[in-house]
């Protein structure tokens, strides 16, 4: 699996990292995680899910959190073990990038901004 992951795939994979969810719950989780900065519609969510399924990073599951309350038309997905490995690698890559950006900002951005 090549990194970096596209942003939409990273967001959906992150939303599914802590357990199975259906499409609507994934959409809501992504909105919450990003403070409403990233909003995905049904087409984007299921297009991304389709791609992640093809890559083997997530899988569809038959388990239902509460069959009494749930609608049978919903489909649930969860991250696979290889999905979690890729997610960890991508998170570490992003963390390194943020660290580098922080160092560069303290060394170079600040004087330039002050000099404006």
């Amino acid at each position: 699996m090549d990194l970096p992951l596209p942003a939409s795939q990273f967001h959906v994979l992150l939303a599914l990292a802590d357990g199975e969810k259906h499409g609507y719950a994934v959409m809501r989780e992504v909105e919450e995680m990003t403070d409403g900065e990233v909003t995905m519609g049904p087409g984007t969510v299921y297009g991304t899910i389709r791609r992640l399924l093809e890559l083997g990073l997530i899988e569809e599951t038959d388990e239902r959190p509460d069959p009494e309350l749930d609608d049978s038309r919903r489909r649930y997905y969860r991250a696979t073990s290889s999905g979690l490995v890729v997610l960890t690698a991508e998170t570490e890559r992003l963390a390194r990038l943020v660290k580098t950006a922080g160092i560069k900002r303290s060394n170079r951005f600040k004087p330039r901004i002050e000099g404006i």
């Binding site: 499409g23 519609g41 049904p42």
Partner: protein, 265 residues
């Protein structure tokens, strides 16, 4: 009201490739039901539909692109042939538009653009007839191409009369716009009947290419309408073309979803 809105959304899902609809129509509908329920709790309906429309068309374009790239990967020779043919068609339209704009110093969409498009469509139609001769449905295709060709004659005569300062009944040109639509519809049905879409181009190729074309045609029609220039015959003529593309698109969209490998077995 909610049932109507979900019906509308289900209709809009036709813009996706059939294979995608087969797999994800139900969960997407469920998601929209959830969103509409939330909308009832206070989100703005206009904002929600705007969001849904933007998401729908953006993701449908991406999905068609993916189907297209898969088709290119599996059948490269056929795919490149089709892309070449459609590229030539669009090139002809672009060249016509450029020539018209340069020669007349006019805005987008003067008559030469439409002539070029018409000739290119007729050319492609006859090419299609040649490809499918003696096959079931070829008569329908031939009828469509002939009707489209004949229906262009009053329009071309009208435009010629305008450019040379002569007179020609505008209503004849307007009426021919509808005949052209019917002709293109027949071409679409003929192509579908003879199952030649896959030979000339995949559905996704057409949809991906029709997006910008439809936008250009729609924009031109809008400019003409807002500007008030040649509002009657010209607008209807261009509107006829625009609808022709829609008819073609619908003829393609109404194809059955292709069988998966498992279903074929």
């Amino acid at each position: 009201m909610s049932r109507l809105r979900t019906k509308i959304y289900r209709g809009l899902l036709l813009v996706y490739p059939p294979s995608y609809r087969r797999d994800y129509e139900q969960p997407m509908m469920q998601m929209v039901v959830d969103l509409l329920r939330e909308d009832a709790r206070g989100l703005g309906a206009g904002r929600l539909w705007l969001h849904l429309f933007a998401d729908l068309f953006r993701s449908a374009f991406v999905e068609h692109g993916r189907v297209l790239s898969e088709w290119v990967r599996v059948r490269p020779q056929r795919a490149w042939g089709a892309l070449l043919a459609i590229g030539a068609l669009i090139g002809a339209v672009a060249a016509g538009s450029l020539a018209a704009t340069t020669a007349q110093g006019s805005a987008v969409g003067r008559s030469s653009l439409w002539f070029t498009a018409a000739y290119a469509m007729i050319l492609v139609g006859f090419l299609g007839v040649f490809l499918v001769r003696r096959k079931k449905g070829s008569g329908l295709l031939l009828a469509g191409v002939v009707l489209t060709t004949v229906a262009h004659l009053p329009v071309i005569t009208y435009e010629f009369a305008l450019s040379t300062g002569r007179t020609f009944p505008a209503r004849a040109a307007e009426a021919s716009g509808f005949l052209i639509m019917a002709g293109v519809g027949l071409v679409g049905m003929g192509m579908k009947e003879t199952s030649q879409w896959s030979r000339v181009a995949s559905r996704s190729t057409l949809v991906v290419l029709l997006y910008p074309l439809t936008l250009v045609f729609g924009y031109t029609a809008l400019v003409n309408a807002v500007g008030g220039a040649q509002l009657t015959a010209d607008f209807l003529f261009r509107g006829g073309y625009f609808l022709s593309w829609v008819v073609l698109g619908l003829a393609v969209i109404r194809q059955k979803a292709p069988q998966s490998a498992a279903e074929r077995k």
